[in-house]
């Protein structure tokens, strides 16, 4: 599996399921937050991206079908 970690480009395709549910109480996705349509990735997908980058992946893209 460590080979995976060394991969230079990873595209992760996830369904609508987030890694972990976002909690509205501390929600980073409130009305004032950027939406997908404003060109920024919403928090759940962003979190996956950030975590994977921290783990050594580069150029990570999360795609929802």
């Amino acid at each position: 599996m460590r080979t995976l970690m060394l991969a230079s480009a990873v595209a992760v395709m996830a369904l609508s399921q987030a890694a972990f549910a976002q909690n509205q109480a501390s929600n980073t996705q409130a009305a004032s937050q950027p939406s997908a349509n404003s060109g920024q990735t919403p928090p759940a997908a962003q979190q996956i991206q950030q975590d994977l980058k921290k783990a050594g992946f580069t150029d990570v893209k999360v795609v929802a079908e």
């Binding site: 992760v12 395709m13 996830a14 549910a21 509205q24 501390s26 783990a55 929802a64």
Partner: protein, 761 residues
């Protein structure tokens, strides 16, 4: 651009309160059938349409749609129209309500009078009305719907706007197209696929399978063999939601912690575990991952002692205070002016509509035999999909049900059998998705794959360039023509004002004459009541009954032979014209007749009555004469022509251990879930107490999202079932036969708008 961005400048989702909505206008709406929150909405919807329980009030529903929906079937006024006509109708409605320019009302519209009457009605119910458009509708339809809702004062009353719940809102088509382009250009060297099946359902022009094969390292996490898994380099078995710890958000944002019911039966892994592996955890544990996450989150939110928080969340099932807060947003000022510059798209002679299948959905449930054999609400089709065509269009094209046609599009074509469907819009051909799987066990080869003709830019509708008969025919396994009880008035219905003034005209007084004294049931008298106003035809009760009572799957050939085994079926009735009929659903379980015609003809006393009024089957006595089935006027008995249960290839754990699995040559039928009755009786006896009302719930009752089915002790005057049966519009089927059924029905009430002519409804 999505409709929400167009109207509000940001992504939003909507929460509906159908309990507050006196007027509902559905635009091919899936609000009570498939949208997020549909179960809650269905319950609210039904509760507001039971005049027997609401003091003679009920909501009024309008529907315009190209293909029948469950909400449309319950509409008091319904129009079938093409997608381009829907846009025109909404523009007219917006103009009439002052939400759009007045010139929109000037355009010629065949339904102008209908729309005017509906608009007046909506206007008179400001703050108590709502419009809802199905997800397949064009962006303009959603924009118009939002604007009209705002003008009706729906926001803040019947509709609340909230931040998106979906993890990745926005265009899915765009994201998968970008991925396909990246794969084609060699940018992707590792692809991890967690759940979806793009090789099957991605637009054909993306050529996903070939591009996926070109990715050096690809992994698919899937529960079953599927087309994508086969094309990947590596496969990982996925665990079921009942097999792993996880969390999720409901349609209103509420977080729930998902607890496994069993260890993974087939060594599956969850998506969390796979992601954890990618992050360097070589032996991830989904429970630990979840708990650690929430420990951190609870600390950030100052939720106090974590163990208390965690155990409470598990016990209650939800994390407190996580529902989304309503937002106060108003449509942008230029919303309508942007639409004014646009013109309606060219109108193709024939149009294809791509719609998710009621059972298989997008194909993900195609491995579930219960859903494959579940009769669809309108067509009653099992084991296949078909091209749904309106009666008038079929006549014009010289088509009948079972004819195979070739449907050509600009870039693709497919062959499909025709099903002539009343209520379908003229010149529209609905192609249900989710069929035509090639790697999916039982579903392999069943139906045709409509995805093969579904382009990235034509996800929900596309113009048909030609539709030609091939000369071939195909046998469709529909249950509609089986168990027919023709020429008898089984669905009683009336108008709301009739109900309020003289319900006796809807349900004539009952006849209880008999030469013989009635049998007394001094202790308990189990009975069922089914509210036809509440039944939305969703089929949940049919599948629940099948799961609870070990009802076997018989396969397409046996369905064709009239041997489907469902103990409970939902009959679908049309009245009025074939093009715009009124639709009614009527669940049909065993009636448990007090004077049961089945019992007196059984030569071996295999079907008998008990002291509480249950019509029992003693399987060991049954010798399979089928006299009982022949003599049943309701056609609710099922015979095991073969050893269906033994032939069903399923693990022992999947059978309900409380219910006998029937063998070949044995008659069977609804038992009112006698295993549940007996369990409750034993528990009550142990506790030396009486059985409380609602303590025994049949599987159909338990699964019904609208509480259409109520079961209990008729002798208990305070029971829910006794109260329903006391309604002036309670009736039994075929009362004239004097079978005295324990199952009775509440008549269907429609709340028509007097301003709309009946001929147009």
């Amino acid at each position: 651009m999505t409709a929400a961005t167009h109207v509000y400048g940001q992504a939003v989702e909507k929460l509906f309160d159908l309990g507050k909505a006196d007027r509902i206008f559905g635009i091919e709406s899936d609000l009570t059938s498939a949208s997020p929150g549909s179960l809650a909405y269905a319950r609210q919807f039904a509760a507001a349409r039971r005049p027997t329980e609401t003091g003679g009030r009920m909501s009024r529903v309008y529907a315009i749609e190209s293909t029948p929906t469950l909400l449309g079937a319950k509409a008091d006024h319904r129009l079938a129209m093409r997608p381009d006509e829907i846009v025109a109708a909404l523009r007219c409605l917006a103009g009439l309500l002052g939400a759009g320019p007045g010139e929109w009302t000037q355009a010629e519209n065949a339904h102008a009078a209908w729309l005017k009457a509906a608009a007046d009605d909506l206007n008179q119910n400001k703050g108590r009305a709502l419009l809802h458009a199905g997800r397949e509708q064009a962006v303009e339809v959603h924009v118009l719907t939002d604007v009209i809702n705002h003008s009706l004062g729906a926001h803040g009353s019947t509709i609340n706007l909230i931040a998106p719940i979906e993890a990745m809102p926005g265009s899915k088509q765009q994201s998968i197209s970008e991925l396909a382009a990246d794969m084609a250009s060699g940018k992707v060297d590792t692809l991890i696929i967690i759940g979806p099946n793009p090789v099957y359902d991605a637009p054909p022009e993306l050529d996903f399978a070939a591009r996926l094969r070109g990715v050096p390292f690809s992994v698919s996490l899937a529960r079953y063999d599927d087309e994508t898994e086969v094309a990947c380099k590596w496969r990982v078995p996925a665990s079921h939601e009942y097999e792993s710890w996880s969390d999720a958000r409901a349609f209103d944002g509420t977080v729930t912690i998902l607890q496994p019911q069993a260890r993974p039966l087939y060594g599956g892994h969850s998506g969390h575990e796979i992601l954890a592996v990618l992050l360097g955890d070589s032996s991830p544990d989904s429970y630990k991952l979840l708990r650690d996450f929430w420990q951190q989150r609870a600390q950030e939110e100052n939720r106090g002692d974590f163990d208390d928080f965690w155990h409470k969340a598990l016990q209650v099932g939800i994390v407190a205070d996580t529902a989304a807060s309503p937002q106060s947003l108003t449509p942008k000022a230029d919303t309508i002016t942007q639409l004014q510059g646009t013109s309606a798209a060219a109108k193709p002679a024939l149009q294809a509509l791509f719609r998710a299948d009621e059972g298989n959905w997008d194909g993900r449930y195609a491995n579930n035999p219960w859903l494959l054999e579940m009769p669809r609400a309108f067509t009653r089709l099992t084991w296949d999909n078909a091209a749904l065509i309106a009666p008038g269009t079929a006549r014009r094209l010289g088509l009948k049900t079972g004819d195979v046609v070739e449907i050509a599009f600009a870039k693709a074509k497919l062959k499909a059998p025709v099903y002539v469907l009343p209520g379908q819009a003229a010149d529209c051909v609905t192609l249900p998705l989710g069929w035509g799987r090639t790697v999916s066990g039982l579903a392999s080869g069943a139906g045709f794959n409509a995805y093969a003709a579904r382009g990235a830019d034509t996800a929900w509708a596309d113009g048909i360039t030609s539709l030609t008969r091939t000369g071939e025919t195909f046998r469709l396994a529909t249950t509609q023509d089986q168990d027919r009880v023709l020429g008898r008035d089984l669905v009683l219905e009336g108008e709301l004002d009739q109900f309020n003034s003289d319900p006796g005209k809807i349900v004539p007084p009952k006849k209880t004459e008999s030469l013989y004294p009635p049998f007394q049931y001094p202790d308990r008298a189990w009975a069922m009541s089914i509210d036809l106003d509440s039944c939305i035809g969703c089929q949940a009760c049919v599948v629940a009954c099948q799961a609870e009572n070990n009802v076997p799957i018989v396969g397409k050939d046996q369905v064709l032979a009239g041997r489907a085994m469902h103990w409970l079926r939902i009959d679908r009735y049309y009245s009025g014209s074939a093009d715009t009929p009124d639709i009614a659903f009527e669940p049909m379980p065993c009636m448990h007749c007090e004077q049961a015609p089945c019992e007196v003809v059984c030569p071996v006393h295999a079907t008998v009555h008990d002291h509480e009024g249950l019509n029992l089957m003693v399987y060991n006595r049954c010798v399979g004469t089928r006299f009982c089935s022949n003599n049943c006027p309701y056609k609710v008995r099922r015979f095991n022509f073969y050893g269906y249960a033994n032939e069903n290839d399923r693990p022992a754990e999947s059978w309900n251990p409380e219910v006998t699995v029937r063998d070949r040559g044995v008659m069977e039928k609804c038992t009112y879930c006698i295993q549940r009755i007996r369990t409750t009786q034993i528990d009550a006896a142990k506790g030396d107490r009486k059985i409380g009302d609602g303590e025994v719930r049949t599987a159909c009752q338990q699964s019904c999202p609208t509480q259409a089915i109520v079961f209990g002790d008729r002798n208990d005057r305070d029971s829910a079932v006794a109260k329903r049966k006391a309604s002036p519009i309670d009736y039994v089927l075929l009362d004239e036969l004097n079978t005295r059924p324990r199952t009775s029905y509440t008549a269907l009430i429609r709340n028509r708008n007097p301003a709309i002519k009946n001929s147009e409804t």
